[in-house]
Subunit: 154 residues, 3 copies
Amino acid sequence: MVIVNWSGELDRIWPTLILSSAAAASGVQCKVFVTFWGLLPFVKDGVRVTGDGWMQKMLSIMQRPGIDHLKLSKMNFLGMGPWMMGTLRKQYQIASPRELLEACQALGVEFIPCQMSMDMFGLKREDLIDGMADPAGAATAIEIMTEANASLFI
Amino acid sequence: MVIVNWSGELDRIWPTLILSSAAAASGVQCKVFVTFWGLLPFVKDGVRVTGDGWMQKMLSIMQRPGIDHLKLSKMNFLGMGPWMMGTLRKQYQIASPRELLEACQALGVEFIPCQMSMDMFGLKREDLIDGMADPAGAATAIEIMTEANASLFI
Amino acid sequence: MVIVNWSGELDRIWPTLILSSAAAASGVQCKVFVTFWGLLPFVKDGVRVTGDGWMQKMLSIMQRPGIDHLKLSKMNFLGMGPWMMGTLRKQYQIASPRELLEACQALGVEFIPCQMSMDMFGLKREDLIDGMADPAGAATAIEIMTEANASLFI
C-alpha cells in the first residue's frame, strides 16, 4: 500500500498515520511518499526556522513545522480546534500523531521524503526526523504506486 | 472499488456519491469507508446536537450535520455558494447529495462508518442514517482497499 | 495510472501534473479525469468570464480561470503565497504548471474533462485548452480507474 502524504494538517496526517500503522500491523507493506505541506510534520523537534532565503524562513515561521504543532484544515480557531481534538482523543484513548508516527516506524512503514519539495521549502535531510528513507523524486512515487495494491493521496 | 469519504463538504461528498453510484450502476461493487468530517452528512435528519460533553456538542453546533446542510470547501460565503451550486444543479438536472445517497443505497453501495471517528465526535449508531453497515476500524479499511481494483481518498 | 483532478488550486494541480508527466516519462500510461474546480486551470488563456447566467459568470469572476492564475489552498495572502512559491520554484529550477502541462501533453497524458462539471460551471468545449479528450461522465471515470494499476483523487 502507498500513501502520498501531501497535507501537513492534523486532520489529514491522522488518517495517513492510522492507515499506514494499521496496514503494517496487518502485515501489509506500506510506503508513504511525503511531499509538499506533508513534509512539515516530519521536521525534527526543536528545528524552528528552516531554509536559507527570507522566503523559506517566512514560510516556516507562518506554518510552524513539527508533529506537535499541527493545525486543522477547518475550525482551527487559533488552536482551540486542535486542542479540543486532542482532549477528545485522550478521552477515547486514541493515539496522538506523535505516538502513531513512532508506531509506524517501529512497524516498518517506510517514509520517503520528496526531494523537490525539500528544495522548495529549504529543508535539509538533517532537518527531518531520523529513520526516514533517502529523499526521492516523482519517478519513485510512480514506481511504488504502480506496484502497490492500493494508493491514496491524502 | 473503495472510497474513503473523509470530508464532509458539499464539493467533496458530491464526487463520492456520484462515483459510487456510477460504479454500482455499472456493476462495480463499491464500498465507502465513512470517516472523520465525512460522517457528518450521514447524520439523520432532525439530529441536531450530538455527543455527550460540551466539546462534542460545540463541534456539532459549529459544523451542522445532515445531508441538507453541507458547506463548500471554498467560496462558501455564508451559504450563498452552496445555494448557487444548488440552483445551477437543478438547472442542469444534476442530482442532489440526498438523491444520490438514496440512489447509492438502492444500488447496494455499502457505507461503513469509522468507529474511532464516531467516538471522537460523540456519534452513536442511532444518530446515523439507516442502512449503513456496522461500524468498523482502520484494519477493515485496509482489508477492503487491498482487495479493491481502485481506491480513492476524497 | 489515473488521476481524478478535482482541485483547481496551485498546490494540488502541481502534484497532478508532476505525477502524470513523471508517469508518462517512465512509460506508464496516464489518464487525468478533470472535474469540478479542477477544470478551471484548463480554461484557455484570454477566456475570462464564462457561462451564460449571472451565477456562472459570477463564479468565474470570483475564481479566475486559467493556468497562470492559480491560488494556494492555504497561505494565499492575496497572491503573495503563490508569488513566493513561483520565486522559489524558479530558484530551484522546478517547472511551472504551464510548462508541466505542456510536457504532459507532449508525452501523451490524456486529459478528460467531466461533462457534468462543464455544464454546472457553464464551460463550453471551446473555453478549454486544445488537445483535451472528449468530455465524458462518471461511468468513464469508473471504467478507467478499475482498469488502472493506481488511481489518485487530488
